[in-house]
């Protein structure tokens, strides 16, 4: 008991090593080093590049959709079917194959071992498989673009019965490939997820207590646990829908007469699928939000040179949000024909989640309060996140209430809401995080001016795109409509507004190539970054080499003496104290009293 460390202040005694140093796998060839690599850092980069590549496909699809909405009929190949296919693939790719993969597979892999002072993940071999199965899932998804009737157009929610009925685009092969790809994704993710969880629980450095972990790790860890419990519902839903489609079972299919013809289905429950889907789908929102929360906390503390306000509260808020998000799923089903009492229950839990979330926002603001704010690109993106997330959270309050939601359901208001809260906000964090860790990953600085330009275009542009959509939604413009045609209640001004949104979307999309260019150009031409350009406290900045070598640390693993937020400590020589710096004589004296 004497060796247990309480709290997160600097402690003099660090317990002896409990875990034997792991046996590292040493690659022997170029292929095992860079292709079939078992090093979490390489896997992280593979995950990130794949996710970004498929993310650009989704971005391109959003261009096509926007072009259709602003200039209906201008592009001849976009008919109603094609439009459905675009929204489906755009939505699914963005949520699952880009955000989930990038936050957990990308940042999780890179940061967990480094921030915790481990040499690698707990199971490097399974970690490698995880990436390759993810890649396979992506390829299967992409393959559906090349089938005869194209990818599925069921909407990213894939609701049956229409998802598998004849006359839905992609009914033949598209939906099958989509479901198979999702199942593969889940299997691959599980292999990685087990790694992240076990490494956080069992593989930390000496002195790295749970309450000394950077909030980034808390966010990624909680999100991974959630994903391991939420993805099973999607997996089961996908398997059952595959059976409905391929074997003719009727899990989700009621008796249906289509075009005067009685189909062979009967007796199934479409609502059951909705429950399974949203039992996954709502936690999914937080699976991408919690890592973002964590990363933003660290970006803000580092670039405002201040300790995070209310660390303990922040940790508890992450855990509580994670737990609560498993009992709110049916707020997506207010108009599905559930028992109204359910709506009451789920509206209540939904509003309760706002409390820990609001605490986090207050704490970020209080961290910034009177901080020494450096407006570096990571900081700009972090502030951008807070604003957008707050915005999306407030509209969420509207949609969470049954009576307010019913008229807003399936309008552009919903599109605006979820793009703010889970589209733009996490993407801003991803950019901020990439800029923040780029110097560690590559050893070079990016171009600051380009990065700032990228930020302003993206941030302001996102507002110009999605803010007017709230208004369109209030006017009653429905979501998932490929054109409004001559609709009486729609004022003519919306046409101009739609054109404005589309042009902004094209500009914002193009601005992402600034980012790409910056990343590639700086690889060669950026100025050398040194080991710790942001003067940050966390362990990944204290590695002996930059970029970190195989095995991350030299012969000795780091020993941790303090929490991750010792910035601007009064009396300290520097305005930051790395986590692995032993306590000073003053600190030692204070700890003793």
């Amino acid at each position: 008991m004497a060796t247990t460390i309480h709290g997160h202040g600097p402690a003099e005694t660090v317990p002896p090593a409990e875990t034997a140093d792991v046996e590292l796998y040493h690659p022997h060839s170029w292929i095992t080093r860079y292709v079939f690599s078992q090093d979490a850092k390489v896997i992280a980069i593979q995950y990130s590049l794949t996710a970004m590549a498929i993310g650009f496909v989704a971005l391109f699809l959003s261009w096509l959709m926007r072009l259709q909405l602003a200039f209906p009929g201008a592009l001849e190949f976009i008919d109603a079917d094609a439009y459905y296919q675009y929204i489906t693939m755009h939505g699914m790719i963005m949520v699952v194959y880009l955000l989930t993969a990038l936050f957990l597979g990308g940042f999780g892999n890179y940061l967990i071992p480094l921030m915790l002072g481990a040499r690698d993940m707990a199971f490097p071999y399974a970690n490698m498989l995880s990436y390759w199965i993810y890649l396979l899932a992506v390829l299967v998804l992409v393959a559906s673009f090349f089938t005869s009737d194209g990818p599925t157009g069921a909407g990213w929610t894939l609701y049956p019965p229409q998802a598998i009925l004849p006359n839905t685009p992609g009914q033949d092969l598209g939906i099958v490939l989509m479901l198979v790809s999702l199942a593969l994704f889940i299997i691959g993710f599980t292999m990685g997820g087990l790694n992240y969880v076990v490494t956080v629980l069992q593989g930390r450095a000496r002195g790295m207590t749970l309450m000394r972990m950077p909030l980034t790790i808390w966010g990624i860890f909680t999100a991974t646990v959630m994903a391991l419990l939420a993805f099973p519902a999607l997996f089961v839903g996908a398997v059952m829908m595959l059976f409905d489609r391929l074997l003719g079972t009727s899990f989700f299919m009621p008796a249906i007469v289509q075009m005067g013809e009685q189909l062979s289905y009967g007796g199934g429950s479409p609502i059951l699928f909705q429950h399974l889907f949203w039992f996954f789908g709502h936690p999914e929102v937080y699976i991408v939000a919690l890592p973002a929360f964590g990363i933003v906390s660290d970006l803000i503390a580092t670039h405002a040179r201040k300790n995070i306000f209310g660390y303990r509260m922040m940790v508890w808020a992450i855990v509580i949000i994670g737990a609560l998000s498993f009992i709110v799923w049916a707020h997506h089903m207010y108009v599905s024909g559930m028992n109204p009492y359910f709506g009451f229950f789920f509206a209540t839990t939904t509003l309760i989640i706002a409390v820990p979330t609001a605490i986090k926002v207050y704490n970020w603001v209080l961290t910034l309060w009177r901080g020494d704010i450096h407006f570096t690109p990571p900081m700009l993106f972090a502030i951008g996140f807070i604003v957008t997330f707050l915005n999306g959270g407030l509209t969420g309050m509207f949609l969470g209430n049954v009576v307010v939601d019913v008229p807003l359901s399936d309008t552009m208001f919903v599109v605006a809401h979820f793009h703010m809260v889970m589209g733009v906000a996490p993407i801003l964090v991803i950019f901020g995080a990439i800029y923040h860790w780029y110097p560690k990953i590559t050893g070079r600085m990016f171009n600051d001016l380009l990065a700032k330009l990228h930020f302003w275009v993206t941030f302001l542009g996102a507002y110009l795109i999605f803010f007017p959509m709230h208004y369109l939604g209030l006017l009653g413009i429905p979501r998932r409509y490929y054109e409004m045609g001559e609709t009486a209640f729609v004022p003519a001004s919306t046409v101009t507004l739609n054109e404005f949104i589309t042009i902004t979307a094209l500009v914002v999309g193009a601005a992402q190539f600034l980012f790409l260019f910056n990343m590639f150009w700086s690889l060669r031409h950026g100025r050398p970054a040194g080991g710790n350009p942001w003067r940050a406290t966390t362990l990944e900045w204290q590695t002996p080499q930059t970029p970190p070598a195989h095995g991350n640390w030299g012969r000795e693993l780091p020993v941790v003496y303090r929490w991750a937020y010792d910035y601007s400590v009064p009396g300290a020589a520097e305005d930051f104290i790395p986590q692995n710096q032993p306590p000073s004589p003053t600190e030692r004296r204070e700890a003793a009293t």
């Binding site: 008991m1 247990t4 460390i5 309480h6 660090v14 317990p15 090593a17 409990e18 875990t19 792991v22 046996e23 796998y25 078992q38 707990a122 199971f123 490097p124 071999y125 399974a126 599980t190 997820g193 087990l194 790694n195 969880v197 076990v198 629980l201 069992q202 593989g203 930390r204 450095a205 000496r206 790295m208 207590t209 749970l210 309450m211 000394r212 391991l228 419990l229 993805f231 099973p232 519902a233 997996f235 089961v236 839903g237 398997v239 059952m240 059976f243 074997l247 003719g248 079972t249 009727s250 899990f251 062979s264 009967g266 007796g267 199934g268 429950s269 059951l272 399974l276 039992f279 941790v560």
Partner: protein
């Protein structure tokens, strides 16, 4: 063992301090679960996730069964066998359940012998476990064949709600796949034990590190889990 020597100090503490001690231990550095290896922790987390998979399957089955308007076929008639002229309900399932539970016993013994480095007995007991598991899958195949011959299909059956066949094939199929994977793992690891891989530090199973006898116990965790899941399937599908 070292851990046993530490135990007595805990008993004297008042309850609140014990709680605080537990939380402090749990959140202390390096490991949240003291004395639990990475492999074992991984298996536990995986089983938690897999529990959700089976949970979703079973809940979906219950929803289907409760919401269908057609009558649900009576399991004790459907799953009866005529032996010597008498119709015995659920006899095959009873035997299958017995076989699977027995295999958990042999598995537990294998774990015991593995930690004693008794390679021969460990390997033999693992083989016996695998055989029992294969027997289970075999009987399941027999049951499937019989039902298919009687006209049960995923999309319909002669007695009532089509969801009966759909959920039956899906859930037992998914469980059977788990058993089959378990049998394959058992065989691979039994072979490694037999050859003495874990004494020589040769590469382990599903890793590039050298394997340890602990893998027998980890496989055992999986095997007992699959067994436990069967008890739930048995209760909810056959007895309901």
């Amino acid at each position: 063992m070292a851990r046993a020597a530490m135990a007595p100090t805990q008993t004297a503490l008042p309850r609140q301090a014990r709680w605080r001690g537990m939380i402090a231990d749990w959140s202390s550095d390096q490991r949240a679960f003291k004395g639990v290896s990475w492999g074992k922790a991984m298996m536990w987390v995986f089983l938690l996730s897999d529990t959700f998979v089976f949970g979703c399957f079973l809940l979906s089955y219950m929803t289907a069964r409760m919401s269908t308007v057609e009558p649900w076929p009576n399991p004790s008639e459907v799953f009866a066998l005529t032996i010597g002229g008498a119709e015995i309900p659920l006899i095959l399932i009873a035997i299958m359940t017995f076989v699977l539970i027995t295999s958990s016993g042999t598995m537990a013994m294998a774990v015991n012998f593995a930690y004693r480095r008794d390679r021969r007995r460990t390997a033999i007991l693992m083989l016996v476990t695998a055989l029992l598991g294969a027997g289970f899958v075999g009987m399941q195949a027999f049951e499937w064949t019989k039902l298919i011959e009687e006209g049960v299909r995923p999309w319909g059956n002669p007695w009532g709600a089509p969801q009966f066949g759909a959920t039956f094939f899906m859930i037992t199929g998914f469980h059977g796949t788990h058993v089959t994977i378990g049998v394959i793992f058992l065989l691979i690891i039994a072979r490694k034990v037999w050859r003495g891989d874990f004494d020589r530090g040769a590469k382990g199973f599903f890793t590039s590190r050298s394997g340890r006898y602990e893998i027998v116990e980890i496989t055992g965790l999986y095997w007992h889990f699959v067994d436990l899941v069967w008890v739930f399937i048995f209760a909810f599908f056959y007895l309901w």
